[in-house]
């Protein structure tokens, strides 16, 4: 388990160094993601080594958002002043974004890449 953790941290670290070093607007972990895909391309056997850790981590992805979400207790003033307006904006905007994305994807996929999976 330690090996795969070190691999993830090293890719994240390299990503951060690249992002900051070159002043890229892309976040470090996203560059780390790309580097991990490149590493898997060069060494496909890495997939089996990494899978137990990444499945565990991604299986509990929700947990990782709890500390940031609890930050709502530090923003009670904003919630009091504009909570309802914010909630309305978030619900409508998120619904619009999901429907737009799914509609565009499905429309173009029907033309370019129909589903052929079993």
């Amino acid at each position: 388990m330690i090996g795969p953790i070190v691999i993830l941290l090293l890719f994240q670290l390299t990503g951060e160094v690249i992002a900051r070093g070159l002043g890229l607007p892309v976040p470090g972990p996203v560059i780390g993601l790309v580097l991990l895909v490149c590493a898997l391309w060069l060494r496909p056997q890495l997939e089996d080594t990494m899978r137990p850790l990444t499945s565990t981590l991604l299986g509990h992805l929700s947990l990782l958002f709890v500390p940031a979400g609890t930050g709502i207790v530090g923003n009670l003033d904003t919630v009091r002043d504009s909570g309802l307006a914010l909630l309305a904006v978030l619900v409508i905007s998120t619904a619009l974004a999901i429907v737009t994305g799914a509609w565009v994807f499905a429309l173009l996929a029907r033309r370019f890449a129909p589903e052929t999976e079993p």
Partner: protein
């Protein structure tokens, strides 16, 4: 007794443990509800922790001293999304065109609709700036807000709420509208509702989850590039 409490209430161990216990409660309720999307584990955990912090008079700063260890794992988890991406590369390469256009459309609608609605409802400027990157994953959105002079803590909350809302509405909404392509459904929720949407998509099926993870990763990059431009044009 008070000595023990004053030691513990400062201690990182308490708030780290509380975060995990609150999440386990949320997850248990979610399972008990037969995985009803309305019973969102993150929402329940946040409500439990907010109540505990308020009742014990604990500041968010103190809480975060302990919870930061969980928060930190967002970075490695983002890197970990490379694995399902690699495992499903054949499926992904086939839909590069639909994916790129859907990414641009979803990302722009997420930002512009939030700014336009927020402006129409009279939200103050710093709140609008904090709202713009709400669909990008937490660490990225917080970075963008800092750069644009918004309120990073507020952005963190708005990002999480966006994720929870997306995870709750995606399945009933897209079922009602008759979308059956799980690549499209997963990708759209990843773009609009980042990791919490992705967690939801993985609960539905692996294809949806994989495409959601890709949508989240790509929109993190695109929002980082577009948000400064959109905000400057808009405000």
């Amino acid at each position: 007794m008070t000595d023990i409490w004053s030691y513990l209430s400062r201690g990182e161990l308490v708030w780290l443990t509380a975060t995990l216990v609150a999440y386990l409660c949320g997850d248990a309720l979610f399972r008990a509800s037969k995985r009803n999307p309305l019973v969102n584990p993150v929402l329940i955990a946040v409500l439990i922790l907010s109540a505990v912090l308020t009742l014990t008079g604990t500041t968010y700063r103190t809480y975060f001293e302990g919870a930061q260890f969980v928060h930190f794992m967002l970075g490695p988890a983002t890197v970990a999304l490379g694995l399902p991406l690699w495992a499903n590369r054949a499926k992904v390469v086939r839909v590069l065109v639909p994916m790129s256009v859907a990414l641009l459309a979803g990302s722009l609608v997420a930002m512009l609709s939030a700014l336009a609605l927020g402006w129409a409802l009279g939200l103050p400027q710093d709140v609008l700036v904090s709202l713009a990157p709400k669909s990008a994953t937490a660490p990225v959105a917080i970075g963008i807000t800092e750069q644009l002079g918004g309120l990073p803590n507020l952005t963190a909350v708005l990002v999480i709420l966006t994720g929870i809302i997306g995870a709750i509405i995606v399945t009933p909404m897209l079922d009602a509208l008759g979308f059956t392509d799980f690549r499209a459904r997963g990708f759209a929720v990843g773009v609009a509702a980042h990791g919490i949407g992705t967690a939801r998509a993985f609960q539905v099926n692996e294809t949806a989850g994989t495409f959601s993870g890709i949508g989240m990763g790509l929109n993190a990059v695109l929002t980082a590039v577009l948000a400064p431009v959109v905000v400057r044009l808009f405000l």
